[in-house]
């Protein structure tokens, strides 16, 4: 990277920067107000989950997996247990599959709400008070966290998944509460859209900013709403259905512009699709057991045969995958996390140069990185 040049200035954003949504340091090289290069420094939250998972059994690790992406903890547990189930050829009861879908979609809504609120707050007072939409979003997210708390007893890191099914069944009255919550959110999404899309400042700050071409998107391997915002119609729930997603009727929103606004539009449409999936799953929830796994007498009781599998789920930020190599013991020989945020963040050095400093914040927020998942 060329740092030289007479009129250039190097500026540090982070590691403690309010717009970073975590600990992230961007060394930006400026020519006046324009960014000419970005060096992303990550790793502040690195705990080496991949090494850790080699020391923990298939019964122990799922609840630790939630600590990779703590904003969408259900998703990472999901990917890990799917990979273990694939190698071990575990049957997952239909009811457990539906429960998994319900919590994964609720998690998607909660995660997108946090993204929308913080992103709009990053872009500041131009959006009519800045923190207004943040507080609205947090209010709705709170209802979903209440649902999770009623289900598993925890609000952020759940331990809901286990190899072979789920650990908890729905408590009494949960279904009605869940329906009421998604109804409220469904109505409020319209309100947010109105607030933002009628706002000329919002449009000016997001349209034609941080454009990712279809080709660059695939080459770097960004996924989820970023990929679909760049015109690639790809959603794992449709293209490689898992956990009975083929039972539900939903569409995959795609935008072609590739800018921050396109990514925003994709996520807004995903709110509604997630709500549609949750309603269908609640309507058709099968009765039956929630796990095929016998009760454990020891954490090392689950053993899966030699082999390897890569299982992936469509998380709020895109493809979250777990690549497990098993040597036949109670722990993986090797486990690789494909963190969606890591790949998504790798797009920044390609798209930020050429933009103004203020746009860096808008672009970074539109990527929706969660640093627990970037650093793992």
């Amino acid at each position: 990277m060329d740092w030289s040049g007479p009129e250039r200035l190097q500026m540090n954003m982070g590691p403690q920067h309010p717009s970073a949504h975590g600990v992230f340091r961007a060394i930006v090289t400026l020519e006046g107000e324009t960014v000419v290069a970005v060096d992303a420094v990550i790793g502040y939250l690195h705990r080496c989950h991949e090494k850790l998972s080699e020391t923990l059994t298939y019964a122990q690790y799922p609840s630790i997996a939630s600590k990779t992406d703590y904003v969408a903890a259900m998703t990472s547990e999901f990917a890990y247990v799917l990979a273990a189930e694939q190698i071990g050829k575990f049957e997952v009861p239909k009811r457990a599959q539906y429960l998994r879908v319900i919590v994964a979609e609720l998690q998607r809504i909660a995660s997108h709400l946090l993204w929308l609120g913080t992103w709009c707050m990053d872009m500041g007072g131009a959006l009519g008070g800045g923190a207004t939409i943040f507080l609205y979003c947090i209010r709705e997210r709170e209802d979903i966290l209440d649902l999770f708390e009623a289900l598993v007893g925890a609000r952020l890191l759940y331990g809901f998944f286990q190899v072979g099914g789920t650990r908890y069944d729905l408590p009494d009255g949960w279904i009605d509460k869940c329906r009421a919550t998604v109804d409220t959110i469904d109505a409020r999404i319209d309100e947010y859209e109105q607030m933002l899309e009628d706002n000329a400042f919002f449009l000016a700050r997001t349209q034609s900013v941080g454009t990712v071409s279809r080709d660059l998107a695939q080459d770097v391997g960004i996924a989820g709403p970023l990929l679909r915002g760049s015109g690639v119609n790809y959603d794992i729930r449709k293209n490689a259905p898992y956990s009975s997603y083929e039972d539900f009727d939903f569409t995959v929103p795609v935008e072609t512009a590739g800018d921050c606004y396109a990514r925003y539009r994709v996520r807004m449409a995903e709110f509604r699709q997630a709500i549609a999936i949750i309603r269908q799953a609640l309507d058709t929830l099968p009765a039956g057991p929630i796990s095929s796994r016998p009760a454990l007498k020891s954490v090392a009781q689950i053993r899966i045969p030699k082999g390897e599998a890569y299982a992936r789920v469509e998380g709020p930020r895109g493809e979250v995958g777990s690549y497990i190599i098993s040597d036949g013991s109670a722990k993986p020989y090797r486990m690789k996390w494909r963190g969606a945020s890591f790949s998504n963040l790798a797009i920044l050095p390609h798209i930020i140069p050429g933009h103004k400093v203020a746009d860096v914040v808008a672009i970074m927020g539109s990527v929706d990185p969660v640093f627990g998942e970037v650093d793992r």
């Binding site: 695939q218 080459d219 790809y234 293209n239 890569y310 190599i325």
Partner: protein, 149 residues
């Protein structure tokens, strides 16, 4: 091309046996690693770079694994190459995929694999002064290291 066509084409081009199944797993000699990446992208149409990592098979040496996808035709390729005992050099896929820039940096950080012709090979998650590469099997979880400051 679809997954079955890709399997047949890869098997004949690289002279290896490829079992049927999803994903298509191709193992080649390390000399043909970059060629395999290029073939996957240009001929099989796997333009989506999913991830790249490595596995430490102890005395049998390191294995580099990459996954690429053809999103339009739903083809998934798992590309593998064994570096051999004691070898820590591997061709870089960065001339083919830009996503390999960060993935190979992570792989270098965690396994100490040097990717030839990588434009910016340095640690990415750990500090530059870190000693050792944690995902090697020889690196114990409780390996002591000096305090940060």
């Amino acid at each position: 091309m679809n997954a079955e066509q890709a399997r047949v084409a890869l098997a004949s081009t690289f002279g290896v046996e490829i079992a049927a199944g999803v994903p298509v797993v191709v193992t080649v000699a390390r000399e043909r690693w970059e060629q395999l990446g290029r073939y996957a992208k240009e001929t099989v149409g796997c333009r989506f770079f999913n991830f790249l990592t490595a596995v430490d098979w102890k005395e049998q040496g390191l294995e580099v694994v990459a996954r690429v996808d053809n999103l339009d035709e739903n083809v998934a390729l798992m590309l593998k190459t064994r570096l051999g005992p004691g070898v820590t050099n591997c061709a870089s896929l960065t001339p083919v995929y830009r996503g390999a820039i960060w993935m190979e940096r992570e792989c270098f950080d965690m396994f100490g694999i040097h990717f030839d012709n990588h434009p910016d090979l340095r640690r990415i998650l750990l500090d530059d002064n870190w000693e050792g590469h944690p995902l090697l099997k020889s690196y114990a979880v409780d390996t002591p290291h000096p305090p940060y400051r």
